[in-house]
Amino acid sequence: MKKMKPTMIYSVLLFILLLTIWELVVTVKNIPELILPKPTAIWMNLMTHLSSGYFLSHINATFIEVIGGFLIGATIGVGLGFIVSQSRTLREILHPYIIASQAMPKIALAPLLTLWFGYGFAPKIIITALISFFPLFESTVTGLSLVDKDKVALFRSLKASPLQILMKLRLPSAVPYLFSGLRVAIVLSVVGAAVSEFIGANKGLGAVITTGMGMMDTPLMFSAFILLTLMGIAMYHLIGLLERVFLKKYDYSRRDQE
């Protein structure tokens, strides 16, 4: 077995400390469970529902939406970023629409989308994609535009086409920023999926949250929060892992710390 890193130990200790404080405050101040449940109550709730299998289908539904929404969102984000960084005209034309899609609260869009696309996975994946693509789009545009001028000059001197400059120079240079955007996108996908389930869903951790609220079952709500958080953390680290494994060479010379 691998030895635990000391930071991990601190991290866990801090976590336990926070939970203890929380437990004590709730107990001493006698805060009703409806307003803030104790960590132990949440834990019990989580365990009960996990062992009963109640959460399984909900986790599953949310997971599908997260992955679907993320893949579509990432494709749109990176794709639009590419398009926009190739043409100033397109950038100026598309920008208002992109910002409009972001400044609008997606949860208010949800009822409209369910009207148009039914209450299946489609509207949820659309909302998830809408929420997750924007930061990735911005990272892509920024990453693609910030390229060493000397290298651009080299490519120009070699008579490379704009597309070649994009694929062989800008893209590799932007890799670390793309991954930064992907990390944000995957976490936002989790929240996007949950939000999309608030409305017109039978399944999913987001639906569990509103149900928990409706039943005044705050521990249930927190259980769903925990599962969403775990999903987010796992996804986030998955992206980090991908970056480290496959794409190390693209920032070897630039990133000076791990």
Binding site: E33, T114, T211, G214, M215
Partner: protein
């Protein structure tokens, strides 16, 4: 192998006969609708040639919009949502009275000393949301006490609306009977309740369809309503069975004991004196007219929408 084939063909024929019936609900599949899940479990819908599908929503408005948009055939929604939609140009028919009683109420802690609506003047009052019946019924109570929204401070508190009440952030909160039950289970005690049905016993939820569906799918609707009514009657007799059916199907149904309590509460508001005579789902047209008049008077509706033509007992009368 001919026998097998015959069986297969029969099955296919049977499945071909099934007609899709999408029901848009104001909520996710929840325990208080257990009779529906029971009917599914016992295959009453299939027996009646119906392939039932539950379309979830968040609020009666969603349900109504879903039938207008053609995403569903029938909506399970509050009457207020129906009237607002009609006012905004929709052609709808209300065909079944699901809960003939007004289940909304106004809850405050004893220590606040709120015994009449008048006591709320200048205080904070919570509602689920502006899209929910809690808001409309609060308006009704205010109107009845000769007050308006301006005289109190209405706040959208979200579905977790008893939290702010217990926390002392609102003087009172508009809620439903089942909401109050849940809150009491979670430690809410010593409350004053002002019930909206004392003022106007509006039906809480109804089945509503578009005019078009009403014209074209009468038989199917009747079959559906029949199953629904039968399932309610059965549930009134056997709440325990319904509570069990809800465990797997209702998203809030893991606790069977709670399910049964909730079902009992709903059973009580599913019938009234008239219905014992005329059958479940029956509308008291006089009351309905009074609802419209009141809503117009209090400004919830800008003008009469002709409720007598919208709400119809035509289908209920054809049920057994």
């Amino acid at each position: 192998g001919t026998e097998d084939e015959v069986v297969k063909e029969e099955e296919q024929a049977a499945s071909k006969e099934l007609h899709k019936m999408k029901m848009a609900s104001w909520s996710k599949p929840i325990a208080e609708q257990s009779n529906l899940f029971l009917a599914q479990e016992k295959e009453w819908f299939t027996d009646a040639g119906i392939e039932f599908e539950y379309v979830p929503g968040a609020g009666g408005g969603d349900a109504v919009k879903n039938i207008i948009a053609g995403n569903a055939d029938i909506a399970f929604a509050d009457l207020e949502a129906v009237l607002l939609a009609v006012e905004n140009g929709a052609d709808l028919k209300v065909i079944y009275n699901i809960y003939p009683h007004n289940v909304f109420n106004l809850v405050s802690l004893n220590e606040q000393g709120i015994e009449t609506v008048e006591d709320l003047r200048g205080k904070d009052v919570g509602v689920y949301s502006f899209t929910s019946g809690t808001y409309q019924n609060l308006k009704l109570l205010l109107y009845n006490a000769g007050m308006t929204e301006e005289d109190v401070h209405v706040i959208e508190t979200g579905v977790l609306n008893f939290g702010p009440l217990m926390n002392g952030q609102v003087a009172a909160t508009a809620a439903t009977d089942t909401g109050l039950y849940d809150a009491e289970q979670k430690g809410l005690e010593a409350v004053d309740v002002i019930e909206a049905k004392e003022v106007l016993n509006t039906p809480s939820d109804v089945f509503v369809v578009t005019e078009e569906t009403f014209e074209q799918k009468q038989d199917l609707l009747i079959d559906f309503l029949q199953v629904y009514r039968d399932s309610v009657n059965y549930t009134i007799e056997h709440p325990d069975e319904a509570a069990k059916a809800a465990v797997d199907t209702a998203i809030d149904g893991q606790d069977q004991a709670r399910n049964e309590e909730i079902i009992q509460i709903r059973n009580q508001v599913s019938v009234n004196e008239q219905m014992k005579e005329k059958g479940l789902g029956w509308f008291d047209q006089a009351l309905i007219q009074r609802v419209e008049d009141t809503y117009v008077e209090m400004g919830l509706l800008e003008e009469p929408v002709g409720i007598d033509t919208i709400v119809s007992n035509e289908l209920v009368e054809q049920l057994q």
